[in-house]
């Protein structure tokens, strides 16, 4: 971009550019060459390598076997459940049970954690944003919450895992506190190192993100809309049901979709918290990078491509919802 022919060429104002249209065109494109070169080197080439190897076997022959391997061992079994009723009656109920392999159950747990923290974090974050923007609280509460949300949504990974171990680990502060109140959460089935513990930890960066994105949206609700609704005789419920909610819903759902992706791609927090003991897609990929933990190099590529597909599928409704929400807000 700063090469000398360029700077001579560009001396003229844009309207009075050189006679030959081709020269101008070439100059125009030169300016974005570094960016596209970077994108090719650090985004597209690595992605293409994953893509190509995902469709190759160990000898480089094209195959779909790696993707087929993701579904290996997938079976529906019919498990007889003996159900006993009071009074000595019992009968057998046979229910279908989906047996998942390691890869599919990793996807299933990742998706469940992402869904739980997107919906939970989304609702909680929305309520907090509502409370500070429209809930009639003093202004300082709002700026404290916004500042803190900014920090918390960026506080993730290894230190976040440490903080939650000190809080809700076996000898964590909250664990001990609840025990002294007579509630042993670990006896009750809670563990920081499984689904619920990880969801709790992810929530620490999920709901503050919702607060950060939803607060401006709630602020964008114009006073006139409410006044107009009231002048037409609408109750508060009717205002929310027919005016505010339809305007806000796309951005609420869109942000939840974003939170889903945020949790789905998370690796560092889970790895530091569980030491790689929880079966998530990201953890499996990590193990695969270190040394073919799945005993099938191709399966690792298929796994990574599957993640890109899920994230891509997530981005489609996100872009759509964002566009819809921008119609009214901002």
């Amino acid at each position: 971009m700063s090469s000398s022919p360029l700077s001579v060429e560009g001396r003229d104002a844009p309207e009075a550019r050189p006679v030959s249209p081709w020269r101008g065109l070439a100059t125009n494109w030169l300016g974005v060459v570094p960016f596209f070169a970077f994108a090719v080197l650090f985004i597209f080439y690595p992605s293409i390598i994953l893509l190509v190897r995902g469709f190759q076997n160990d000898d480089g022959v094209p195959t779909l076997a790696n993707f087929a391997a993701m579904f290996n061992g997938l079976a529906i079994t019919y498990v007889p459940n003996i159900i006993s009723l009071p009074g000595g009656l019992s009968f057998t109920l046979t229910l279908p049970n989906l047996a998942l392999n390691t890869v599919l159950s990793a996807y299933w747990i990742s998706i469940r954690i992402s869904l739980a923290t997107a919906i939970g974090g989304g609702l909680f974050g929305f309520l907090l944003a509502y409370a500070v923007i429209l809930g009639g609280l003093p202004r300082w509460v709002r700026s404290v919450l916004m500042t803190f949300s900014g920090v918390a949504s960026n506080f993730a990974g290894v230190p976040l895992a440490f903080a939650f171990i000190a809080t809700m680990g076996r000898v964590g502060f909250v664990t001990i506190l609840l025990k002294s109140l007579g509630l042993d959460i670990y006896n009750a089935g809670f563990s920081l190192y499984n689904f619920w513990g990880l969801s709790f930890t992810y929530m620490y960066f999920q709901f503050p993100l919702m607060v950060l994105i939803m607060s401006p949206a709630l602020e964008g609700l114009k006073r006139e809309w409410r006044e107009a609704a009231e002048n037409l005789g609408a109750s508060s419920f009717q205002y929310w049901r027919y005016v505010a909610l339809p305007i806000l819903l796309p951005s609420v759902l869109g942000t939840m979709v974003l939170l889903f992706g945020n949790a789905f791609g998370a690796y560092a927090t889970a790895e530091a918290l569980t030491g790689g003991q929880i079966n998530l897609v990201t953890i499996l990929i990590g193990a695969q990078i270190q040394g073919d933990a799945l005993h099938n190099p191709g399966l690792g590529y298929a796994l990574a491509l599957g993640m890109i597909v899920v994230m891509g599928l997530v981005m489609i409704p996100y872009q759509f919802l964002r566009r819809v929400s921008e119609r009214w807000l901002r």
């Binding site: 985004i43 994953l50 309520l127 409370a131 900014g150 949504s153 230190p159 607060v211 791609g265 270190q290």
Partner: protein, 265 residues
Amino acid sequence: MKRNTWWSWFWILLGAIYLFAPLYATIAFSLKAEKDIVSSLAYRQVLQDPDFWHTFLFSIEMAVLTIIVSILLVVPTAYWVRLRLPQIRPLVELITLMPFVIPAIVLVFGLIRAYSGAPFHITNFSAGTNALLVGGYVVLALPYMYRAVDTGLSAIDVRTLTEAAQSLGAGWRTIIAQVIFPNLRVALLSGAFLTLATVIGEFTLASFLVGLNAFGPYMSQLGQNHAYESAALAIISFALTWGSLGLIQLFSRGVPGQAVVGGPR
């Protein structure tokens, strides 16, 4: 209309507990390194560990390189797209949003598989792995860097400024360095400190590319057998995040916090 603020206070209280309990617990725990007394031993031991300083400085260095590279890459591109190539704007924006689709762990997987083997063998020497690390961080920083710069550019009249500078005889280098850059100071500082806050303790890319040279993997390693020191480290890195984001608020005069999505979680 009279409002009942009881529910608002209830949710805020719940939120405050969620945000502060882990901090309180971690601070309390980090001060218990000696039996029965409040002690700063854990902090002293962390700060006296040469590995702490070694990895910390390494990660700062990577963060600074990331900031420099992403500014040099994003500013001229965003400027050029706005001035001369508005038709490729959707494409450039799409590329900057790629980290939303490619999670960090998949990115590092791709980088390693693409460049560790023949014909590149880039991971065989440390300058090579550092370059991959910085490149990966620049990719992860693209969404917010590009957005910040582009928003900054939309606030100034790029075309008029460019024409004015050109009619005074300025070349492209001068225009970008002396006209465009100063107008983007706030946007760039915000982006820079956000990058600093997220790159210093980054674990996903660092652990696979440079291992224990970087601060994130160092913290993780320490956490495996030093409980009190790891709590102290968590507090130190929380303070760093707080400091970086506090500085952003200072520059941007109260514009509420920014967040990285899909970054180094």
